[in-house]
Symmetry: C2
Subunit: 234 residues, 2 copies
């Protein structure tokens, strides 16, 4: 998937989910990939890591790094990391206008800081992140203003000879458009993991699975990932 | 050292050196302390950690956290973390106008991101950092513009009901003034560690020791830390 017309390296943050996989696909069009996965103590880390490694293999990424940032889980404050907090249904959580308990305090700032540090050492010119604003109206660190402000921090906080741009190519895309973009770019969607569960096959019925399946349905695309409820029905 | 007139909690980043110790002393005047130390794979971590624990004990800090961020050392790019890179004399490194090899890529952004994440969970109102601009003309992430830009990222990147301010009380202080401020506030300067070496007693002759001793001399204060060269001369 690498060619000679690419302009420099890009670090792409890849959780292993749909959004970050398609983000990596966008980055791969123009850059040599350095793929970064962050283990932040999330409940689904083992399964996410498998997807990350498969996506990295698919792209033959020149550089690959898995970072131990489990202090994020230790700090707590999120149902994605705390064992005694249940992950709520997203739509329900948004009903009262509050930020859902799946929000991880300042997570994208931590992720972007790590990615920029690595990018500076690699002399990469971009950091790609799969932030989606429309999808997550409640998450403050998925908004364009936040990313613009972070870009200013990057310009001011690294060596003057380093030039690194934060890029969020899916920021204003709908989930349906992300599926279509992934198909267009030949992204390995079959390797992605969106489920909030930790089992080998996605449950198909948690909110994250539900949103994903709805997006594939709207796009008219068969989701290549197997689902436990479909398997059971066979 | 805690009293009832304090307004909320502050997270203070404490390496264990002179600047961060005095920064914690400033924070302790107005806030209940939550002290944060980052193990980033620096060569002097074991000795720094000892100083951090002693400073935390001195202040009876209500909260204390040591974070494993050794991925910073793994990423590399600095003589403070890479075993095969020697730490140069600071003044020599600055002679040619370049950023010294002791610069750790985007380190303060990583540190501040971690501190803000913890502050949000603790409902702290401030994050204190011992950045000193005058002391480190070459470090981009010790400048006022960088910290101002980071404050904007904080305002935009956390829950709207959270209010956290980055504070760098020594940003424009000289090393001499930092010593005087520390004495004025009764900071435990005898517990601090500034040496680039890892041995039990500070060498007294590396650039960091030299700058510190010069500052104490200018302030007319006896440095309470023992030095190996003085001990040898006794």
């Amino acid at each position: 998937m690498q060619n000679d017309k690419k302009i420099g390296k890009a670090v792409a943050l890849v959780s292993g989910g749909l959004d970050s996989c398609v983000t990596a696909a966008v980055a791969a069009r123009d850059h040599h990939l350095a793929l970064l996965h962050v283990d932040y103590g999330q409940k689904t880390e083992a399964r996410e890591r498998k997807s990350f490694n498969n996506i990295a293999q698919f792209y033959g990424a020149g550089e690959k790094r898995i970072v131990n940032a489990r202090f994020i889980g230790d700090i707590g404050g999120s149902s994605l990391t705390e064992p005694d907090k249940n992950i709520p249904a997203l739509r329900e959580a948004l009903k009262d206008g509050k930020i859902p308990s799946t929000y991880v305090p300042f997570r994208n700032a931590v992720f972007l800081s790590i990615a920029v540090a690595w990018a500076e050492v690699l002399e990469a010119t971009s950091v790609y992140i799969g932030a989606v604003q429309s999808d997550r109206p409640g998450y403050p660190d998925c908004r364009e203003e936040f990313l613009a402000a972070f870009n200013r921090v990057v310009r001011l906080g690294i060596r003057p000879e380093s030039h690194i741009q934060i890029v969020a190519p899916l920021l204003h895309s709908s989930k349906k458009d992300i599926v279509l973009k992934g198909v267009e770019l030949g992204a390995p969607l079959h390797q992605t993991w969106s489920c909030y569960g930790e089992q080998e096959i996605a449950c198909g019925c948690c909110e994250s699975c539900a949103l994903r399946r709805q997006a594939f349905a709207e796009a008219g695309i068969q989701d290549p990932v197997p689902y436990a409820d479909l398997e059971a029905g066979r």
